[in-house]
């Protein structure tokens, strides 16, 4: 009797154990397999579609063409760097020879002026988006906090924000360009004008979502926490630093992630429109080029843009996880 009982007990335990393992394995398999299936399906569809689309620049690029271009573009980058090095080496040699003949000869080194490679353009776009984004953070978060804390300021500023928020930053681009060329005149400029233009465009599109989200976060802080602060009579600066800022970190980050996503999209468009260096210009140049390779290069750029956008969002999420106390909002 006892034996039978214990045996059946063992059995059920074992079964539980097995079924648990089964569930665990099947979820892992699902987590790995389903994306692979999805991607394979997408690649198949893409290949079929590409084979059936003929353009004036030849056939629409399929996965294979894109794969080839990735290798090509990287090789071009390596070649270009080698050329650049050779260029400088030649100059140095020449200078050394001249100096031997004439010790008073002022040695000169001219800058290399090769075309930017794909990798250079990626770096340019990344630097631009980060700078514009950081500038927006510096402006928007203090502004958002002040607006959230001060009802009158909120009433005063809200209509302006509401009107400017839906404006595509691209509409600002001509104005920004004109103002920058009028105002930013220095003999030895630290940054290119085109960089400043793109950066300000990015900032303009980041500022609104950040201000709005920060202000909402600040104005909807739990009343209990504000009561704690007032019972302690925290001075205003301490109050902002110890209560307001940490309490609204989740909302602030929501705004930051939102605006970084928009900023990346807008930047590419702005670079295309204004011919400012970056991935957008790469796409536009290839389009103007119209060689048989152009479409596959543009397609490659599209994937790279998407992938970088994804990485930017992941990076923001990582930072948010690190700073935010509210782990529940982070997992979305």
């Amino acid at each position: 009797m006892i034996k039978a009982f214990s045996k059946s007990g063992f059995n059920t335990l074992n079964n539980d154990f097995m079924s648990q393992w089964f569930v665990r394995i099947s979820t892992t398999v699902k987590a790995i397999m389903l994306p692979i299936v999805g991607i394979a399906f997408f690649l198949g569809l893409w290949t079929i579609a590409a084979n059936n689309i003929d353009t004036s620049l030849g056939q629409f690029p399929g996965p294979k063409a894109v794969g080839t271009q990735i290798v090509n573009l990287y090789q071009e980058h390596v070649d270009s760097r080698e050329k650049e090095q050779a260029f400088y080496q030649r100059q140095e040699l020449r200078n050394a020879e001249r100096l031997k003949k004439d010790p008073n000869y002022p040695a000169k080194i001219r800058d290399y002026t090769g075309k930017e490679t794909f990798l250079d353009q990626i770096i340019t776009s990344l630097v631009t988006v980060m700078s514009g984004f950081l500038l927006a953070v510096i402006i928007a978060i203090p502004l958002g906090i002040s607006v959230g804390l001060n009802k009158s300021l909120n009433l005063a500023i809200n209509p302006i924000i509401q009107v400017f928020k839906p404006v595509s930053p691209l509409a600002w681009l001509p104005l920004v360009t004109m103002v920058v060329s009028a105002v930013y005149t220095s003999d030895a400029p630290m940054f290119d004008k085109s960089f400043i233009n793109s950066m300000i465009t990015v900032t303009l599109c980041c500022v609104w979502p950040m201000v709005i989200n920060t202000a909402i976060g600040v104005s909807s802080i739990n009343q209990d926490w504000l009561n704690v602060s007032s019972v302690l009579r925290l001075p205003s600066l301490v109050h902002v630093r110890k209560i307001i800022l940490p309490a609204s970190i989740p909302a602030i980050f929501t705004g930051m992630r939102l605006s970084l996503g928009i900023a990346w999209m807008v930047l590419i468009a702005a670079e295309m429109l204004a011919q400012n260096p970056g991935l957008g210009k790469f796409v536009w140049d290839e389009f103007q080029n119209g060689s048989s390779q152009s479409l596959s290069r543009i397609m490659t750029a599209v994937f790279v843009i998407g992938f970088i956008g994804f990485l930017l969002d992941r990076a923001m999420l990582k930072i948010q996880r690190f700073v935010s106390w509210d782990k529940t909002t982070v997992n979305r």
């Binding site: 009561n227 019972v231 302690l232």
Partner: protein, 283 residues
């Protein structure tokens, strides 16, 4: 002993969309130093409102509160509050929550090592030394409430205001916390106002029980002096005649004299349904 805290004929009127709502009418109470006062009454009668006025979070519409003969106009650390729902800051550990208060109140009087010692002392007082570097979401409800109490005690307040400090706790933790509170009170001789729903808790802890009538226009219905000798022991009190007399006095007040006639609507928040409960003459 003379009066430390004078709640002098306060009225509280809340403006609501359906017209003014009189929550409190002529609440008048004088409290001596070292006294332990319980406020008891049905849900929504205005206990938290009284406490918030003493804390300075609300201003009375009429009358006022005097602490040491000075009018209370804003919140301050000399009137520390243990809030109804602990209100710890979730981004700070238990230690840091207490630290925020201690640093603010004793910035000038204590050195940094003294402050550290004081913070740890207060966390030990509520038996939280083992979890003092945990965040609120990593500790239980009872532990959070204890940290809230430690934070309030650490401010060395002249008056300690507690809004249902043990309301969310299970019966065992609750009894344990009540015992700790009696010990602390014995040691520090704090002046305390505590809101409670629990008749046994009120009788066990208090020197005086203030029983409030039902709102709207709630006021003090009866005051019960609790003259049981201290230290009090819950087990031996259970057979005590005087204890049981006091207990039934409170029960009689709550369930006979102030019986709630309105239907109980459990799921709803009292804040939401209260304005519709009252009768307003709309001309």
């Amino acid at each position: 002993m003379s009066t430390l805290l004078n709640i002098s004929k306060i009225d509280m009127v809340f403006p609501t969309p359906n017209g003014d709502f009189t929550a409190l009418k002529e609440v008048d109470l004088q409290i001596k130093k070292g006294e332990f006062i319980s406020l008891i009454g049905h849900s929504g009668c205005g206990k938290s409102t009284v406490l918030n006025i003493v804390a300075g979070i609300h201003q009375a519409t009429k009358g006022g509160v005097l602490l040491n003969n000075k009018e209370v106009l804003e919140p301050g650390p000399e009137r520390a509050v243990v809030f109804q729902n602990h209100s710890l800051l979730p981004w700070l550990t238990a230690y840091q929550n207490v630290e925020l208060a201690v640093d603010q109140v004793f910035k000038k009087t204590f050195t940094a090592p003294e402050r550290k010692e004081w913070i740890e002392h207060n966390l030990k007082l509520v038996h939280m030394e083992h979890a003092m570097h945990k965040r609120p979401d990593e500790i239980s409800g009872g532990m959070k409430q204890r940290v809230g109490i430690a934070r309030a005690l650490a401010m060395k307040p002249e008056v300690l205001l507690m809004d249902e400090p043990f309301g969310a706790l299970d019966a065992l933790t609750r009894a344990h916390m009540q015992d700790s509170l009696m010990d602390i009170q014995e040691e520090l001789n704090n002046t305390v106002i505590m809101i409670t729903h629990d008749v046994d808790e009120a009788v066990l802890l208090s020197d005086r029980i203030i029983m409030m009538t039902n709102g709207p226009a709630a006021t003090i219905g009866e005051v019960l002096e609790v003259d049981l000798p201290r230290p009090r022991d819950r087990l031996s009190l259970a057979q005590d005649v005087e204890y049981n007399r006091l207990r039934s006095a409170v029960l009689t007040f709550l369930y006979e004299k102030q019986r709630k006639v309105e239907p109980l609507n459990h799921g709803q928040k009292k804040q939401q349904n209260a304005p519709t409960n009252k009768k307003v003459d709309v001309a």
